[in-house]
Amino acid sequence: MKTTYRITYLLGLMDNSICPPPVVSVIFPSFDGSQLVISDQSKILVTFATAQTPVDLGALVKVEEVVTESE
């Protein structure tokens, strides 16, 4: 079952000049670029084929599972 995660910064805009953003592979070590990534200045959405355990980067980076996938 596909699982989508939303990554948001609680402080400032995200740098969207590079996609996939480098922070994705830091939060999800198994990320290899084949997964669907959607990013803008406010969020990153990453969809995996199986559920992941995100690395905790601290209180200012929030990672949450998206129940209903949206943009």
Partner: protein, 285 residues
């Protein structure tokens, strides 16, 4: 009986005694109303609205409406940071080079997938809630280049489009009212002719153009929809394809409004393909 005209009426018109007659020496300055005369001759100046909406191909601009048209808020060059991104497939990537006026798109290495940049929903000058008003002129333009440092594979397609759905992100031709231009490669790094793609809300129509881009040579594309179904593709300022099967009615789903650039592997490739998209603008009203 014969009638002889010894002094035709057009002889000596400069001394015509009728006070209502035009005089050569007056150079038409004796017209009661020059604007009315221009209208009667079919050469009236464009109104501000005509200058902004581009509804005529024959009406002339005067200097004021020329300035008005340059201040046209219907023509938008989005800030690059406003472009969202999406990638799918290992190796797919997109970036905004610090020295570029655009963005780079790289297709996946050995996979089907895509790299996409897009903005939307777009703001309409005239309210059609959440959608582009296709009954009025709309279009987009961009400068594209395929640098020699990267190949362009036969499995790849590059595309710029206006009107794709906002609720889902996908690579490929428009599936709702929209206009697009795309191209691929016949053999590795030998690019194919541009293809004009239009969708009128019911079906997709494609027209192969007379312009074939070359690796490492930038080229400008512009696609213009006149609101009546006529869509024209220009390459480097020259018309290279046209169709009357474009969108000419409003409707469809909400927010089918994206301005999108993409590179898409339609089947598995052996290397990445690359395109850079610069100076991208759109026009809706």
């Amino acid at each position: 009986m014969s009638i002889y005209i010894t002094q035709p009426d057009n002889v000596g018109i400069t001394v015509e005694s009728d006070p209502n007659a035009l005089k050569i020496a007056s150079n038409l300055s004796d017209l009661a109303s020059a604007p009315t005369a221009r209208t009667n001759l079919g050469v009236a100046y464009a109104t501000n609205d005509q200058a902004l909406t581009g509804t005529s191909q024959t009406t002339t601009l005067n200097p004021l409406t020329s300035i008005i048209s340059q201040m046209n808020t219907n023509v938008i060059q989005p800030n690059l940071a406003q472009f969202a991104a999406s990638t799918s497939g290992a190796g797919a990537a997109t970036s905004i080079p610090s020295t570029s006026a655009g963005f780079a798109l790289t297709s996946p290495t050995v996979a089907v997938g895509y790299a996409i940049r897009y903005v939307g929903p777009l703001v309409n000058g005239v309210a059609i809630t959440g959608n582009i008003q296709w009954t009025r002129p709309a279009g987009f333009c961009a400068r594209l280049v395929n640098p020699n440092f990267n190949t362009f594979q036969t499995q790849a397609v590059a595309r710029v489009s206006l009107g794709k759905q906002d609720v889902s992100i996908y690579a490929g031709p428009p599936t709702a009212r929209g206009i697009a231009v795309s191209y691929g490669a016949s053999v590795t790094s030998v690019l194919s002719a541009l293809i004009l793609e239009v969708h009128d809300g019911t079906s997709l129509t494609t027209v192969t153009s007379s312009f074939t881009p070359t690796m490492n040579l930038s080229f400008d594309i512009a696609v213009y929809s006149d609101g009546l179904g006529n869509v024209t593709l220009y390459a480097n300022g020259t018309q290279v394809a046209t169709t009357s099967a474009g969108p000419s009615t409003n409707g469809g789903g909400t927010y089918e409004t994206k301005l999108m650039a993409e590179i898409h592997n339609t089947s598995t490739a052996t290397q990445t393909s690359y395109v850079r998209v610069e100076n991208i603008k759109y026009f809706v009203n």
